[in-house]
């Protein structure tokens, strides 16, 4: 056998560039069956168990989430209701406050009107009293001054002739009366 033929019959050379040798396929197939069988026998149950556990855990989480969602929805409904109640209460309180404020305002205005009227009446009375007092004091002062003036002037005015004239005038008037 020539060298060329020896080189052409290299056991490391396959007869196809794509397919392996038959024996290799057989051994490889058997090995694959053994490996797959081993996997099915030993790994698949574990994998299934893992998946079930995971599924269960996820389901639990889903249930918990649903429960939380429900709770949250209930809470939200409660909050919305509370908000509604608060809004209503706020509106009622505001309405009450407005009513009370209006009543207080009306009452205050009425009281102020009465007080102003009373103050005006009192002030008017005080002014009139002060004016009357001033007028009375003025009259009294005029009377006092007039009295002093008369007392000072009379002696010089009521001389003898005037006195006699007053007496004669009295006699004449009394004599003419009846």
């Amino acid at each position: 056998m020539s060298l060329f033929s020896i080189l052409a019959n290299d056991p490391a050379q396959t007869h196809s560039w794509l397919l392996p040798e038959n024996a290799e396929i057989i051994y490889g197939g058997i090995a694959s069956v053994l490996v797959i069988g081993g996997l099915v026998k030993f790994a698949f149950p574990q994998f299934t168990k893992f998946l079930n556990a995971r599924t269960e855990r996820i389901q639990k989480e889903l249930d918990a989430s649903a429960s939380d969602l429900s709770t949250a929805q209930t809470d939200a409904a409660g909050i919305r209701q509370a908000l509604g109640d608060i809004a209503g209460e706020r509106a009622r309180l505001l309405a009450d406050a407005n009513t009370q404020a209006a009543a207080v305002l009306t009452d205050g205005r009425a009281r102020l009107t009465v007080e102003i009227a009373e103050l005006e009446a009192r002030a008017t009375a005080d002014i009139e009293t002060a004016a009357a007092r001033g007028s009375d004091e003025l009259r009294a002062e005029i009377g006092r001054v007039a009295s002093i003036a008369v007392d000072a002037v009379l002696p010089s005015v009521l001389d003898g002739a005037t006195q006699q004239a007053l007496v004669e005038n009295f006699i004449s008037k009394v004599g003419a009366s009846r």
Binding site: V167, I171, S177
Partner: protein
């Protein structure tokens, strides 16, 4: 003093004066004394003070009237003062004057004037008052400076006031 005592004293003085025949003078002098007593608190107190001895009070009467009034008047006043009735002397005298006037069918006309009235003025005033009141009057003139001017005449309950004092008081009242 009760009215009966005052009346009793007045009647007694009147009868004494009439018996003495000096009723007109005594009446006039007593009337002036009564008005003097009314206007002088000091004199009234001196004649009515029980603490002053009777002799001293009689001496005051003598000093006051001696030489200015008839003896009858002085004795009558001394008698009343000595009897402790000096406080009632004006009332006794007024009653005596009324009695004397009544005896003459006259009404007492008390006239207060700021100045002395002449006899003629008194006569005309008496006639005027008689005309005004319809009564004959026994004129008793009192010089009262407080009248200031004019005359105030009182006949019974009737007062005719023509004094300057009253007119001034009216003006002051109106002021």
């Amino acid at each position: 003093m009760s009215d009966n005592r005052i009346e009793g004293y007045a009647r007694a003085l009147f009868e004494i004066a009439r018996a003495e025949g000096t009723i007109d003078e005594v009446e006039d002098e007593l009337f002036r004394l009564a008005r003097t007593l009314e206007s002088s608190d000091a004199l009234r107190n001196a004649l009515t003070d029980e603490k002053i001895p009777v002799a001293r009070r009689e001496g005051i009467v003598e000093d006051l009237l001696g030489g200015k009034a008839t003896g009858t008047t002085v004795q009558l006043v001394s008698m009343v003062v000595a009897g402790g009735r000096g406080r009632d002397l004006p009332a006794i005298i007024d009653r005596l004057v009324q009695r004397a006037s009544s005896a003459k069918q006259l009404e007492v006309a008390e006239v207060r004037s700021a100045v002395e009235l002449t006899a003629d003025q008194q006569t005309r005033l008496a006639a005027a008052l008689a005309n005004a009141t319809g009564k004959q009057v026994n004129l008793k003139v009192v010089v009262d400076p407080s009248v200031l001017g004019g005359i105030v005449a009182t006949v019974g309950d009737t007062v005719i006031d023509g004094s300057i004092r009253t007119r001034l008081d009216n003006v002051k009242g109106r002021l």
